[in-house]
Symmetry: C2
Subunit: 95 residues, 2 copies
């Protein structure tokens, strides 16, 4: 759960860990904007994080931008094909 200049990387932890990271990061830095980044299975968690934060905690948070993409990961050991993985970025902005 890294946090750098308004970015929260969403991984395998439960959504609430990242919701907390977003809330902490936004109140600590008084930031107006935060971006959630996720790939693969964590994409669903990133959407949950955005929705939970918006609906339950920071009501004036709006979805500013959603982008999807593809990243190439090196092949697993014993395989020789690169793996393609989907990525997602959700930018949330305070009004």
């Amino acid at each position: 759960m890294a946090e750098n200049s308004g970015i929260v990387f969403v991984g395998r932890k439960p959504a609430m860990s990242y919701v907390l990271a977003v809330i902490t990061s936004m109140s600590a830095s008084n930031a107006k904007e935060i971006t959630l980044k996720a790939r693969g299975r964590a994409i669903t968690t990133a959407v949950d994080v955005a929705e939970i934060t918006r609906n339950r905690f920071i009501k004036d948070l709006k979805i500013d931008k959603i982008a999807i993409g593809t990243e190439e990961l090196p092949p697993r050991e014993g395989e020789n094909r690169a793996r393609m993985v989907s990525t997602m970025e959700i930018t949330l902005k305070k009004e």
Copy 2:
């Protein structure tokens, strides 16, 4: 895998089933636009479907709009709390 007026509902099948549905639907109806709808864990699959279709099959397909939201599902048997589930809609458009 329902298809209605340019909508493909993404569920638990492998991404390629839905990629095929998108390609079939777009070429049959000569439609310029198609929307992928998914909720919960299928959100990741929907992103995969959009990326695979765009990168490998219909190169002039652009992401027109991405929206996320929350839906309330009735409680499971024996439970009494409604479940909240994240939803996603990806609209793809031919140039």
